[in-house]
Symmetry: C2
Subunit: 496 residues, 2 copies
C-alpha cells in the first residue's frame, strides 16, 4: 500500500467517528429530550477521546511528516496532507499536559462567564479571563516560531492566510467610511408602515414560507432537509447529506425568513462541493470567512434585495392574508432593511453589524499586544462602543460580557464574521458582470446563481484556499472597497 493510501485508511476510522459524533449532536440539537443528557455526555466523551487518540497517534503523525515531503503526490493529495498537518501542528508542539490544563480551564470558565453574564458584572469574570489569556499565550509560545505574532497565529487558525496586517487594512476602511456613514444615516428617518410586525404570524405559515424558500433557493431535497432547533444552524456530514434548521418565533416572523436564507447559503455551498472530496480533508467549505460569505450573500444581497421581495412578497401575503393586509412590498422591503444602533451584535442589522465586529477586533488586538489592562477591559469596550456606534453601554451584559467567545478561548474568530460580508460583496461585483442577477432573482428560482457559484467556488471544497478562490473568480485579491460601496449605495437608496 502506498504511504498516502495508508494515511487515507487511518483517516477512515477518524471520519467514521466524526460522522457518529455529528449524528449524536444533530439529534441533541433537534430532537433528544433532557433525560438523555447525562448518558450522552459520557458516550460523547468516550467517542471524542477515541477520535483524538487516533488523530495524535504517533505512527499517523510520522506518516504525515513523511508525506509532507513527498513530491510525487498530486496537487489534491498535497493539499490534504497540508491540512492534516495544520490540524496536528499545535498538537505536536504543545505539551499534552498544558493542552489539557487549558481545556479544563475553559470548561471551568464557561460557568463563571454565565454567572457574570446573568449578574451583568464583568468583575466576576475578569480574573478568569486573565487566566485564559495567559494560558492561551503560553500555548501559543510553543507554536510560535518567531515569524509572526501570537494574534496572527490565532487569526490564521480561524481563517487560513489572514493576518492582522490584512485585517487592519480592512477595518481601517470600515472605520473611515462606515462610522461616519452610519452616523449620517441614523440621523434620518425612513417612513413606512410597520404596524404589521405586532401581529402574530403562525408557526405553520412561517414553516410553509420556509419550505417555499427551500425550493426558491433550489435546495436539493434528496440530499438534505429543513428542521427546527433553538439556534439555527447548518449541519452536514458530506455533500450528500446537508441539513439546516430555523426557529419559528410567532411575534418575529422575519427571524425565520432570514435565518432560512442565511442557512440556505451555508447549505447550498456544502451541497455543491464536488462529492469526490467526501470523507477527506478537502470536504467542506474552505474557511469560516468564505462560508460566511456564502450565507451573507444569500441572506443579505439576495434575500434583502428589492427584487427578491418583488418576486416573493405576493407568496408571503398569500400565506398571511390578514396579518399583512394593507402592507406594501415597499413597506416590507424597508422594514427588513431598517438600521438601528444597538448594543447587541447578534441582533444588529446588515449595516451596523461590522462595527460590532470592529470593536471586538480592536479589543483582541490590544489584548494580545499587551496594550490594555484586562481589569479595565469593560471600560475600553464601552469607549469603543461610544466611538463606533455612539451608544453608552449601561451594563456589562450588553457590553463586554455579551458574547460567549472569550470564555471559550475563541480569540481571532470574530473578524471572520465581517470578512464574510466583504467577500460576498466582492463576489457579487464580479457575478453581476457575468450573469443578470436581477433577472434570475426575479424569475423565482436561484439555480443559475447557484451554478455560477458552484463553478467558480463551491465545487473546490477545501482544495483551494479562500484567497485562491477569490482571486481566481474575481481577478483580484481580497478588496474590501466593494463591501463599503455596496453598503453605502444600498442604504443611500433606502434613506433618500
Amino acid at each position: 500500500m502506498s504511504k498516502f493510501n495508508e494515511f487515507r485508511e487511518k483517516q477512515d476510522e477518524i471520519n467514521a467517528l466524526g460522522y457518529a459524533l455529528n449524528h449524536i449532536s444533530w439529534d441533541q440539537a433537534t430532537e433528544a429530550k433532557s433525560g438523555s443528557n447525562e448518558y450522552r455526555n459520557k458516550q460523547v466523551g468516550i467517542l471524542s477521546k477515541k477520535q483524538f487518540e487516533l488523530v495524535i497517534e504517533p505512527s499517523r503523525i510520522e506518516l504525515i511528516r513523511e508525506l509532507r515531503n513527498d513530491a510525487s503526490l498530486s496537487e489534491e493529495e498535497t493539499r490534504e496532507i497540508y491540512l492534516a498537518s495544520r490540524q496536528i501542528d499545535s498538537l505536536e508542539k504543545v505539551p499534552a499536559n498544558l493542552y489539557s490544563e487549558y481545556q479544563v480551564l475553559l470548561s471551568r470558565a464557561q460557568g463563571i462567564w454565565e454567572n457574570a453574564y446573568i449578574e451583568k458584572n464583568y468583575s466576576m469574570f475578569k480574573d478568569t479571563l486573565k487566566e485564559i489569556i495567559e494560558k492561551t499565550n503560553e500555548v501559543l509560545e510553543y507554536r510560535n516560531d518567531g515569524s509572526r505574532s501570537n494574534y496572527d497565529i490565532l487569526l490564521d487558525d480561524f481563517e487560513e492566510g489572514m493576518t492582522s496586517e490584512k485585517y487592519d487594512e480592512f477595518f481601517d476602511l470600515l472605520k473611515e467610511q462606515l462610522v461616519p456613514f452610519v452616523k449620517q444615516i441614523t440621523s434620518k428617518e425612513v417612513i413606512y408602515n410597520d404596524d404589521f410586525i405586532k401581529n402574530n404570524f403562525s408557526e405553520k405559515g412561517q414553516k410553509e414560507f420556509a419550505e417555499y424558500l427551500m425550493d426558491v433557493f433550489n435546495f436539493d431535497r434528496e440530499r438534505g432537509l429543513l428542521k427546527e432547533s433553538v439556534h439555527p444552524f447548518t449541519w452536514n456530514t458530506h455533500s450528500q447529506d446537508v441539513r439546516l434548521t430555523v426557529r419559528y418565533i410567532e411575534d418575529l416572523m422575519t427571524s425565520s425568513i432570514f435565518s432560512a436564507a442565511h442557512e440556505l447559503g451555508h447549505a447550498l455551498y456544502e451541497q455543491q462541493i464536488d462529492s469526490k472530496y467526501d470523507g477527506t480533508y478537502l470536504s467542506g467549505g474552505t474557511s469560516m470567512g468564505f462560508h460566511e460569505s456564502q450565507s451573507r450573500f444569500y441572506e443579505n444581497m439576495i434575500g434583502r434585495s428589492r427584487v427578491f421581495w418583488k418576486a416573493h412578497f405576493d407568496k408571503l401575503k398569500e400565506i398571511f392574508k390578514e396579518e399583512l393586509a394593507g402592507v406594501t412590498m415597499d413597506d416590507f422591503y424597508k422594514f427588513v432593511n431598517k438600521v438601528e444602533l444597538s448594543y447587541i451584535r447578534v441582533e444588529a442589522d446588515e449595516l451596523t453589524y461590522p462595527l460590532h465586529i470592529m470593536i471586538r477586533y480592536e479589543i483582541e488586538k490590544e489584548i494580545f499586544n499587551g496594550e490594555v489592562d484586562i481589569d479595565k477591559l469593560d471600560e475600553r469596550w464601552n469607549e469603543l462602543t461610544k466611538e463606533y456606534l455612539g451608544l453608552d453601554v449601561t451594563n456589562d451584559s450588553e457590553g463586554i460580557l455579551q458574547d460567549v467567545h472569550f470564555s471559550a478561548g475563541l480569540f481571532g474568530y470574530f473578524p471572520t464574521y465581517a470578512l464574510g460580508s466583504a467577500i460576498a460583496a466582492q463576489i457579487y461585483n464580479t457575478m453581476e458582470k457575468e450573469i443578470c442577477i436581477y433577472d434570475i432573482v426575479k424569475s423565482g428560482n436561484l439555480e443559475p446563481i447557484n451554478t455560477w457559484l458552484k463553478t467558480h467556488a463551491h465545487k473546490y471544497g477545501s482544495f483551494k484556499t479562500s484567497n485562491e478562490i477569490l482571486a481566481e473568480m474575481t481577478g483580484e485579491p481580497f478588496n474590501p472597497e466593494y463591501y463599503t460601496k455596496y453598503l453605502i449605495n444600498k442604504y443611500l437608496e433606502l434613506f433618500i
Copy 2:
C-alpha cells in the same frame, strides 16, 4: 483495577460505538434522505467492524473466561458475565472464515428472496434456501456439544431457556384448542356498523390521538418521544432515552392507534428498567418473547378491551366528529376485534395470529429434523395453511415467501412472537387478582398498571431471565393455558 472493572472499562468503548450506531440508524429510519445512503453504509461498516473487533478481542475473551469462574462476583456481576459469554460463545467456537462466508451468503440471499417474492416464485429461491440451511447447520455443528439439537440451539439464541420440547407443548395446546375454535367462530357473523372505515382520517387527527395515548399510557416525555417512520418500531439507547414511531395511514386509522399501543408497551418496559443497568449487559428487556409480551399486553389486552374504548372512544369521536358520526362504541370495539382468516401473518388479527406462527414453527422443526424436502417446502407450507387456517394458498408470496426471516437466516425467531402473547395472558391472570385492571383502564391513566409491571418485571432489565421473572410474578412456570382461555373467552363474548 479488579478484573471485573477491567471488563467494564473494555465495555465502555463497545457501548459508545453501539450508542453511535443506534443514533445513525434512528436517523436513517426517521429522517435521512436517500442521497445519504451510500456514505452512511460505509461509515456504519467501519464503526460496526471496529465494535466487532473489540467484542472478539482475545484479551477480552480471556478476561470473560476468567470471570466466568470468579465466585467473588455479585449476583448481578455474574449475570453480566454470563450474558457476555453467551454473546461470544459462537464467536469463540465457529471458525472466522465460516462465519464470514455465512454473512456473505445471507447478504446475497436477500436480493434473491426479494426477486422471488416479486415473481411469486419459490423455485427461484429454493436453492439459496438450501444453501442457507446447510451453512446454518455447518455453523451449528461447531457450537453443538451434543447435549441438544441444532434447532434447540437456535430457539435458545432467540429466547433464553426455550427448547422445542417446551414449544411443542405450547403449540400442541394451540392446535388442539384454537384450530377448532377459529373454525367455529369464523363460521358466524358479527353484525355491526363498519361503514366509517372507508372515511378519510386526517394524519393530523391521528397524530393528536396518538399523542393523547402517550399520556393515557403515562409515557415519560422527558425521557423519550413519538415520531413517524415507514415501519413502526421502538428505539432506545438506555432507560432515559426511549422513542417510538408509528405510521399514519389516512384510510386505515386503526393502524396508528394499535401501533402506538403496541410500541408503547415496548417503550414503557424500557423506560421502567432500573437505570443502574444503563450501559451494561443487564440493560434492556430480558428476551424477545418477554418484550413482545409487554407490547401485546398493552396493545391487545388493554388497547383492544371494551373498557379501554369505554374510556377513550369519546376522545376519538371528538377528534373525528364527522368521520365517526353515528358510530357507537360497540361498533368500534367490534371492528377492532374482528376475526378474519387471511394469508398474511403481519395482517392477522389477535386470534388467528398464533396459527400463522404455528405453521412456521412446524416448518422450521421439519427443516432442522431433516423431515422435509426443501424443494417442496412450498407445498408443505400450503398444506399446513389449509390445515390450520382452512385457506388455499394461490401463490408463493402469500405463502412460503411472505416473510423475510428465512432469507436472513433467522430460524427460531418466529415462535417468540406467539410466546409473547401467551406470557401476556399469564401475567394478566395474576395482575387482575392483585389490582383492579378494569377500574384503572376506565380511569384513563394506566400508571398503576405500569407500576405493577415495573415492580414485578420491568425494573429487572436483563438481570433475571424471562422464565425467572414469570415464575416469580405469577407463582408458576410458563403456562399457555391462560392464553387459550383468554382468547376463547374474549371471542366467545364477542361472537355470541
